[in-house]
Amino acid sequence: MRNFVKILLLKTIIHFAAFIPAVVMYYLAIVDQLGSDPVEEIIHFTGISALNILLITLLVSPVAKYFKQGWLINVRRLLGLYAFFYACLHMLNFLFFELQFDFSLFIGEVIDRPYITIGMLAYAIILLLAVTSWSKIRKKMGKKWQALHNYNYLLVSLVCIHFYWSVKSEIIEPSIYFIMLFILLYQRKDKFKRWFKR
């Protein structure tokens, strides 16, 4: 199979797997069929989905290298944008459905609650990465683009901490995410070493 066909096929699969669940979950939440507290459910769903997709995005380049399938890199931007899509939904759900448009409470919570503060910081980073994802902007930014997009590693780490700080007493699920994060970052240890040498 030619590479562009493979890319097209994989992108189609990603669209289906990432977009349709959101549509169905919102439908269920709106008609009150998503458990007893659809608000909590949809916030959790969008948040975990954003984190999962971010981790998958980090998986692309090690997998492409290991299996020598360079074409895989072409789906990374799409995955990143879906992570951004879920991050937007996650934040808007909190503002619209949890706080029900109480903007002053929203700002208060962002300032007062460390886990929300770093959640918003992570959101600011992914927003920057998303708006600079156009090819044109990428070309214009040159070397600065890569420097900016290296913040992806900080972003994923912040999201993992955000999740860990948000739970009440359960530590096993967040721990699993930290382990995955560690493995994915460990793949890039040479890159990090180079940064610190300079």
């Binding site: 797997a17 169905v24 939440a29 069929q33 096993i172």
Partner: protein, 332 residues
């Protein structure tokens, strides 16, 4: 002239989905393999089947009389939500897990001991839970420390009546409660992943005057029937002016003691969960504001149900005296 006004929240005939279609829709979703597909994104597929899971745990109708608390203006939380949205870590730390994992819980036989600094300790067996004290209905607001709330028609009797029967002595200053410890039946007690990493058995406590307050209820039922397992069958505590975690479930021991007893959440995170746990909109939890709450009623994502939290959950008239002279910012 005849003026017809329609209740805004009422559904139109056209908005009601026919039951057959409704059930079919679920089947189609499942057949589409949606459950598997979305697991890719979210890791776990939430309760698509939450409304249709069969219940192995049997409840039965109770005889009760209404009380002065039977008539409150708040709209009741639908029964379906009260029995499917539970914090009962013994059966899983996720809200929907208790309704799923508690169905085979055995409550008969049961023994509830009333013991400690009392002259006449006694034990209630399963049938006596429903026969020794007259059961009345109390519709109370339940405010969870996680900033959501419900309105629940409990059935039960006053803790004060139970304590009086045991004749506490002068050393009885506090009341300590204990939940059943049975890791074989309660998977959260044997499995750290399910049980949220808290120490079992779950323990709670009240000061004696709080325990003797007229509001303090030992509940054996809700919505006219005995308690479902996930709501703390066969008997639980209800203290409506305190956060929900004070309301210990499936109690096996009530012990009158001299010193302030240990409480589960206070041991786990003392900076977040105090002994008193009184609902207080002015004292924030470190991770969320307590100034307002989301009332869980019927209605989906767009239900506008955020309300201001009231001091002592609105029961100040009955309980504020208990805390006279205390700094509630410190003794939270």
């Amino acid at each position: 002239m005849l003026i017809k006004s329609k209740n805004k929240s009422a559904l139109l005939e056209s908005q009601v989905t026919d039951e057959a279609i409704y059930k079919d829709r679920r089947k189609v979703l499942k057949q589409l393999g949606f459950v598997g597909a979305s697991a890719l994104v979210a890791g776990s597929m939430p309760k698509i089947a939450w409304a249709e899971s069969p219940s192995a745990f049997k409840t039965k109708a109770l005889n009760f009389k209404k009380s002065q608390y039977s008539d409150i203006p708040d709209k009741l939380t639908p029964e379906k939500k009260v029995i499917s949205h539970n914090n009962f870590y013994e059966f899983g730390a996720k809200k929907d897990q208790p309704a799923e994992l508690a169905q085979n819980f055995k409550v008969d036989p049961w023994q509830l001991k009333i013991t400690g600094e009392v002259d006449k300790p006694f034990t209630l067996d399963y049938n006596e839970l429903f026969s020794r004290f007259a059961i009345e209905e109390r519709i109370y607001r339940l405010r969870c420390v996680e900033a959501w709330s419900m309105v629940i028609p409990w059935l039960g009797f006053r803790l004060a009546d139970v304590i009086k029967k045991a004749q506490p002595n002068s050393k009885a200053k506090y009341v300590a409660f204990k939940t059943l410890h049975d890791p074989e039946q309660m998977p959260g007690q044997s499995n750290r992943y399910l049980g949220g990493g808290i120490k079992y058995p779950y323990v709670e406590g009240l000061r004696i005057d709080e325990a003797m307050n007229d509001l303090t209820l030992l509940s054996v039922g809700l919505y006219g029937k005995t308690l479902p397992a996930q709501n703390g069958a066969p008997i639980r505590l209800v203290t409506p002016w305190k956060y929900g975690f004070k309301s210990i479930k499936s109690i096996v021991e009530i012990k009158l003691v001299e010193r302030m007893p240990k409480t589960t959440w206070n041991k786990l995170a003392p900076n977040e969960y105090g002994f008193y746990a009184n609902v207080n909109p002015e004292v924030d939890h470190p991770r969320w504001s307590q100034a307002s709450e989301r009332r869980i009623t019927s209605g989906g994502l767009f239900a506008r149900n955020r309300i201001e939290t009231q001091m002592f959950n609105g029961y100040g008239e009955e309980v504020a005296d208990l805390y006279k002279g205390m700094n509630l910012g410190k003794h939270y």
